[in-house]
């Protein structure tokens, strides 16, 4: 009796979907391919040829169980670092850190991991996910766009061309994020999503904007946002009981020292913060407690509470003199 057209409602009826879930690596956009891959439990790493395409990139991945990795387009895997033997378009990423030698003569292609939920390492804590080489492909903005349930390591330090984007909110088991010295990565998200985070450095990276509190990461051992002005992290360094390196020079994250403690790590490398939330009492207590704990300096031997931190008072004068005699370098605002 009633027709949609008569009621004027036909405009609200969705059109029949034309969505084709099969990825077309030549034609689909990276964003669309990512979505399709997500539906298939796949993870894409986009590669781009560089130079004349004759070089070989070394890519290192790890999985919680063996999984096939395919390469699309003109990309090829090899079994040697020279890129001369064992040419193929598929390989296996194993449970140990797996080295893949990759060549791409021109254009772009994708590495297609077939079990996204089993991918555990984009590199390892000590090894980059890619070693760039002359005329070899680069990782062209690999996006952490969907959940990567098992990823615990992401390392892409001091690379000049490769980069990641996306959010660490998709990597809730992340333990290590090391993109120190990589100026192209543009990663967002909150460390509140990564409760197992132990090693975090975005040193010298200007594009990442990461939030959250260090209080969320109870196992934190290394935290470095030096040279990054976009990230803003709160929290109490008194609770970071395993951390002997907190460096935020050039970054004004509102860190505090509320929870007084004597159980510092066996040695203390560095505390470098510029926080408007650090009161004179906190600054004094920090010096007093570190001195009283007996912790000795190592490596950088630096405690820097300059910048936005409140000035010291005479209450910490004795502790500061003692810390200097132990070998610490102290930087602070004058009383």
């Amino acid at each position: 009796m009633y027709e949609l057209g008569h009621l004027g409602l036909y405009k609200n009826v969705p059109k029949k979907s034309m969505f084709n879930p099969t990825p077309n690596y030549e034609r689909d956009s990276y964003t669309l391919l990512q979505y399709k891959s997500h539906l298939r439990n796949e993870f894409l790493i986009p590669l781009k040829a560089d130079g004349d395409g004759t070089g070989v990139a070394t890519i290192r991945l790890q999985s919680t169980e063996d999984q096939t990795i395919n390469i699309t387009g003109a990309g090829r895997f090899y079994t040697d670092a020279q890129g001369t033997t064992g040419e193929s378009t598929s390989a296996v990423v194993g449970t140990d850190l797996t080295t893949l030698y990759v060549k791409l003569s021109a254009g772009s292609c994708y590495l297609v991991l077939t079990k996204a939920d089993k991918l555990s390492g984009l590199g390892s804590p000590s090894t980059n996910v890619i070693t760039e080489a002359t005329n070899a492909p680069i990782i062209n903005g690999c996006k952490l766009g969907y959940k990567l349930h098992s990823v615990i390591n992401i390392r892409l330090a001091v690379n000049s061309k490769s980069f990641f984007t996306g959010s660490i909110d998709n990597c809730h088991n992340l333990g290590v994020l090391n993109i120190s010295g990589n100026r192209l990565c543009a990663i967002t998200g909150s460390i509140d999503s990564c409760l197992g985070l132990t090693y975090f450095t975005i040193n010298s990276n200007p594009l990442c904007a990461i939030t959250g509190s260090i209080d969320s990461c109870l196992g934190l051992t290394y935290f470095d946002t030096s040279g990054n002005t976009l990230s803003n992290n709160s929290g109490d360094i008194g609770k970071a009981i395993f951390c002997n390196y907190i460096a935020c020079n050039g970054n004004t994250s509102p860190l505090t020292y509320v929870t007084r403690r004597s159980n510092w790590t066996s040695t203390l490398r560095r505390i470098h913060i510029s926080s408007a939330s650090m009161t004179t009492e906190m600054v004094d207590n920090l010096f007093i407690d570190i001195d009283a704990s007996g912790v000795l300096p190592s490596n950088e031997k630096l405690i820097n509470v300059n910048g936005l931190c409140a000035p010291v008072s005479s209450a910490s004068a004795e502790a500061r003199a003692s810390l200097v005699s132990k070998g610490f370098t102290l930087v602070y605002n004058n009383e």
Binding site: V158, S180, D224, A247, N304, V324, L330, V331
Partner: protein, 88 residues
């Protein structure tokens, strides 16, 4: 710059351009604590003969003062503007 100390102290009232780090050398070379104040910022450390301190204050400072052992007669401070990357 070379700075002569009197009773382990000296004050210099002249502008110092922004720097990334500085190198301090003392004469005579004995292990002693030293505090160098750049305007409102103090830097305290132990020195034996020469030491490099990474300190980027981000702006010009207008005065410098030194406080160390009375035995130290002369301090040389060289300022450097180079970029550096830490903790890689």
């Amino acid at each position: 710059m070379k700075i002569q100390l009197k009773d382990g102290k000296a004050t210099i009232n002249e502008p110092i351009a922004p720097f990334k780090y500085f190198v301090v050398t003392i004469e005579p070379a004995i292990e002693t604590p030293i505090t160098i104040c750049f305007g409102g910022t103090s830097c305290s450390f132990l020195i034996k003969d020469s030491v490099q301190i990474d300190l980027d204050l981000g702006s010009q400072v207008d005065s410098l003062s030194i406080n160390t052992d009375k035995l130290i007669k002369e301090v040389t401070i060289d300022f450097f503007e180079n970029e550096f990357i830490e903790g890689l």
